[in-house]
């Protein structure tokens, strides 16, 4: 096995996870459950495709993708914060909605029920191993930047306080809803970038192209104990396992389905506390009555 090709492939697999997991971390640290990462990624991928298709520029695609994620993130925020809707239900609804909306407008815009026409992406030179794609760098940087933001800025401190003890934050005059709106909006944009990368990397949008990646990101958030860096490491680990599986294809030793299970099994084990309990932010999920 060629280590360079291994790393290149792992990176391509990891970038969407890294973006989405960062998005998941910030929303959940503010106390909002992020089951909608899958839908946010899908929306991001589709909006980016529209943007890139009509403008010819991948950068416009990136902006459009961020915009799409922002809109869906805000729907999630309004439903759970303003209307106190159940966060789990809303997350699942956003995922369904994203599939429906992208399919409908795929049909409307491109008269296809499977994929969009080819769009321009970034870089693509074989020699660069993907490093000529600015989104790769953004993805790699998303976790450290988020960590800086969460742990080193006043707003990050407030996000952490709101997710753990909203009453305490409110008692010192912090607007809990405002902090949560911002966190969920940022979460939407970050997760969408994961989808943007997918679409631009594959030079098209295909129906349901995120295929469960958002849930792997959810797993990474939990397995990474809601810490940006640890969640990113979980993403890299999951990506490495997948790469291994792809590169060992034909090898009958470990069936691919068992590799697929790894992130999910590890998350269940982490939640059950077999190896050090994963403790979520104390106020996670509690925006209802």
């Amino acid at each position: 096995m060629n280590p360079i090709s291994f790393l290149t492939q792992m990176l391509r697999i990891a970038i969407p996870y890294l973006f989405a997991a960062s998005g998941g971390v910030i929303a959940e640290r503010a106390g909002i459950i992020s089951l909608e990462l899958e839908g946010l990624m899908l929306t991001g991928a589709f909006s980016a495709t529209l943007g890139a298709h009509y403008s010819g520029s991948p950068w416009i695609g990136v902006l459009a993708g961020i915009g799409g994620g922002l809109v869906f993130g805000l729907i999630h925020a309004v439903a759970t914060i303003r209307y106190r809707a159940d966060q789990v239900v809303v997350g699942i609804a956003i995922n369904l909605l994203a599939i429906g909306v992208t399919r409908f407008f795929l049909k409307l815009a491109f008269q296809s029920s499977s994929n969009s026409p080819r769009i321009n992406g970034f870089g693509g030179s074989a020699a660069a191993h993907g490093l000529d794609n600015p989104l790769v760098w953004m993805g790699l940087l998303s976790a450290p930047v988020l960590a800086f933001f969460l742990y080193k800025t006043p707003f990050g401190l407030r996000v952490r306080a709101v997710g753990e003890h909203p009453d305490a934050a409110a008692s010192v005059g912090i607007s809990v809803p405002k902090v949560r709106y911002i966190a969920v909006a940022v979460s939407g944009m970050l997760a969408a970038l994961g989808g943007v990368f997918l679409a631009l990397d594959q030079h098209q949008f295909t129906d349901q192209m995120t295929s469960g990646r958002g849930f792997i990101a959810v797993a990474a958030v939990i397995f990474g104990r809601w810490d940006p860096i640890k969640a990113a490491l979980a993403c890299l680990f999951f990506a490495a396992a997948e790469t291994l599986q792809i590169q060992l294809q034909g090898n009958q030793l470990i069936p691919s389905q068992f590799i697929e299970m790894i992130p999910y099994l590890l998350t269940i084990i982490a939640l059950a506390g077999v190896v050090g309990r994963a403790v979520p932010p104390a106020a996670l999920g509690k925006t209802g009555e």
Binding site: L35, V88, F104
Partner: protein, 354 residues
Amino acid sequence: MNPRRKEQLEEALFPPFVALLVALICGDLLIMSYGQSPATVYRLLLEGTWGNAYGFGQVLYKATTLTFTGLAVSLGIRAGLFNVGAESQLAAGGFLAALVGLGLSPAIPGIVAVPLCLIAAAAGGGIVGAIPGWLKVRFGAHEVIVTIMLNFVVLALLNWIVAAHLHVPETLHTPEIRAGAMPRLESVISSFHGSAANFTILIALLTAVAGWFYLFKSRRGFDLRAVGLQPDAAEYGGINVRGVWLRAMTVSGMIAGVGGINYVLGYKHYYEEGFAGGSGFLGIAVALVGRNHPVGVVLAALFFATLSQGGLAIHAFVPKQMVEVLQGVVILAVAMSVPEVRAVLRRARKPVAA
């Protein structure tokens, strides 16, 4: 009507009504974005579903699976638990039913074979439901995340078993079962010809009735609802809260599992990768819109089945994907209006004076 039932009905019926209105408006916009007339499209949608026997048969078929998953999710919610695992419970149930159907001799009559397959389906779903129940009771692991994660694990496991040991070459499905097939409705009512509707629908309705009886007439249902409403008061009432949680997750999984026979015994007669096709997730929507009441669940299952089948009927004019958008809109609108409606109604009502 006595005042209590009236209040309960108000709280239960307003949100779906609001949701329907919102969905209609969204639907209008989508249809018009496609340059079509909403009236025409809605008429086509109804004609293609309730307007002809085949379409109606398909609605019934789809509603059957959704009734099971909707009942499964709503039973969990009644106990205060969110079972997001109906998707894999459904698949596991279908898989075990197929396994038993494959193993039985064709000579075994349906009257024996079908119940055996049914028990297998319940066992399959029950095991997948019991795991998160046990993890919650024993370790406090949150059932939402565990059921979601377990969906992927179970589906991958089933896929591997089928791919490695059971599939018909070139396909993703097992061979056809040798015993336990459920007759189609068309065998009795010929105008259903071609539709997948089968006698599983009777089992679905029986399950709904049994669910209603269990929830509202049995002692265990009394305990289960008490735990879901106020765990502290239930504990005070001598109810074993953890036991109820474990039982509720197991039974919820069993109900979802039995839903697997609609496809496996009633339609294709084999287990196929991905046959659940989102019915488990849609079960959450069905439970939500049906307000966790068996009657509501059956009606909501019909509604979502109509949307889904209706999508096909309007496809020539508007992409069928429109209905997927509407499904999402309905769930969002109900989820958003439930707390709001309750708050408004409770504020409007004065406590009954002594």
